[in-house]
Subunit: 363 residues, 2 copies
């Protein structure tokens, strides 16, 4: 059998190690494991969402129009339902974008270090992946690359996973003004709820962006602030011609019936989101203080994680040390960095993680 040639160069996405694996491989009790590797919401899911789930609907396919969820998102963002496409996580919409623009010689452009799925999906469709020299988003470099390579799709991760830095809304507008309307610009706002809370200058208004720049698609997700990482619901907001094209590549029933129920309710409980984000930044301050106290470099973060990168710590060694003690964080060695990313956990979790890093430093 002759598999498509692009598969030769595919390395699969490296997911955060699941708790189950640490139980199996290290014989650590499930209740003793802290997983802060996948930027899940450590406060779980809104109790109102938990109460609303009707399990008996598991046997029934969802309303594939996702009518009520789109209505909720449309009201939340001040756009029309027809401007919205629903994905199995926002990462499925990344695939939709690449599939919908697919052609021989497709090119995408993204930051030096950013969400790995942009590149993975691109390669799966045989596209060429161009990265800026800098790891973090540098729009001058983006512009230079754009002019040189004329990419078909530009990915801006705002804020950027796995680094944590975040472009300002105004900077992005200045950049977009110089981009041809033939180039699709994906603004991935998976962590936007956090950035918006921390600094309004970094808040993206999708309605404004898609109206002013009809070649923009904004991506959002229920996996982070909304506490539904396991339910796989994301969305794209764009002008109708883009949404129509994405709907053509969307498989039917791409989210589950319970995911649909959960997302509809989660959107209604903004109080829960607000309280989670508030605690997130209170707890992040402890990681910042710890870093300063130990002269560890870190990237100021607009998300629910913090990235430590320091010559004082060999990231792979430290991550392995933590793993053997039941703490899962994300080593960024696979991104070519001596750095590791820690999801900001609950107060108790962070106390244990910081104590464990302290022990590592003192050994």
């Amino acid at each position: 059998m002759h598999f498509t040639r692009v598969l030769q160069h595919i390395t699969s996405y490296e997911a955060g190690k699941p708790i189950e694996l640490v139980v199996r491989e290290y014989g650590i009790k499930r209740e003793d494991i802290i997983k802060l590797a996948s930027n899940e919401n450590p406060y779980g899911t809104s109790p109102k969402v938990l109460q609303s789930i009707q399990l008996e609907a598991m046997s029934l396919y969802p309303d594939d129009s996702y009518y009520e969820l789109k209505d909720g998102l449309a009201a939340h963002y001040g756009v029309d339902s027809q401007n919205i496409v629903i994905g199995s996580g926002s990462d499925q919409i990344i695939e939709f974008c690449i599939h919908a623009l697919h052609k021989e010689g497709l090119k995408i452009l993204h930051a030096g270090v950013t969400f790995a799925m942009y590149g993975i999906y691109a390669k799966l469709y045989g596209a060429e992946v161009i990265k800026t020299p800098d790891n973090a988003h540098n729009l001058a470099q983006f512009l230079e690359s754009y002019q040189t390579h004329k990419p078909d799709i530009i990915f801006l991760c705002v804020p950027n996973n796995p680094l944590g830095e975040c472009l300002e809304s105004k900077q992005i507008e200045d950049f977009l003004a110089q981009i041809s309307p033939d180039t699709l610009v994906v603004i991935d706002g998976a962590y936007q709820e956090y950035a918006t809370y921390k600094d309004s200058a970094r808040s993206i208004n999708p309605s404004h962006f898609i109206t002013t720049y009809p070649n923009v698609i904004y991506l959002g997700t229920f996996s982070k602030a909304y506490g539904l990482g396991g339910m796989r619901v994301g969305y794209g907001i764009a002008q109708k011609d883009i949404i129509t094209a994405l709907h053509k590549v969307r498989p039917p029933f791409n989210i589950t019936t319970l995911s649909l129920q959960a997302a509809i309710q989660a959107l209604k409980d903004q109080e829960f989101i607000h309280s989670c984000i508030q605690k997130n930044f209170e707890e992040m301050a402890r990681y910042e203080k710890f870093a300063k106290d130990h002269a560890i470099e870190y990237i100021p973060s607009y998300t629910n994680f913090i990235t430590y990168h320091s010559d004082k710590i060999q990231s792979s060694k430290c991550c392995q040390w933590l793993l053997e003690r039941g703490i899962i964080v994300r080593d960024l060695a696979s991104y070519g960095l001596n750095a590791f990313r820690i999801t900001i956990g609950t107060k108790e979790q962070n106390t244990r993680v910081l104590a464990c890093i302290q022990q590592y430093l003192e050994q």
Copy 2:
């Protein structure tokens, strides 16, 4: 923006009308609506599955290795875990197969009338779709088409949705013996649990097939007999080289955390499956008797649905009549047939459906 040219020819999958839509469009009360349009299990989900769901895991990504589910399936089918890939419904694995074999000039072959997603996914990847002249599976025609067109992928839907007929295992073996190992043969067993119950000669043993014919992939689903239509879990069973290729095109976290929980438990409750299937065929006998009593032609079915096709009934008119009375069945006009497919419901549902068809005939 220039969308990929294949999108021009894409018509999206026509999903069964959801209950929500009938509530909205016809103002019929939700509790008065009977949906027998999508071959969902009318007996719902096993109570043991319902009890096992841990909602608080919604915020956590699933164990992306799907270790426990693959282990369960491996034991159930007598294969190795490495022979298994998990999909968001078995239809995602159809897409994986087409994506993994994608090339300029890819060709697929399927029956004249069969599951629409084979053709839809093929067209999304720019492949050529070849159909046999007969609507139902006719292996002589398949062989002739195979020899003429040398397709890269052959889809056998066993039993066939939306017609209900089912090839015998022995017939498929005789066919496979004449097919080059370079051609991927997909045996879609979405309704196999029903066929196996009704006639052992039509039961497919995936372990035997993939061992004897290494170019075969068997597809199964939790959406039908297992009562998890809304949870989107399917699987593919094949030799390791095929599975490895499919894993490369599989997105991470392609099923939800609760779907994973549900599928693991559902597989353990074979008693529930058996009792649902038993009732299915008891109730199907009523539809067969009704058809004979009214001289309506139908296709003997090895599934959980029955297809009526008769010059006496204009299917679109009859389906609309039923819809206005809160009964959703599937008109097959979009397949070019004057026929409609009814999922076998519960005793009470079937009583109302048959009475309503009777009224339609008498008007």
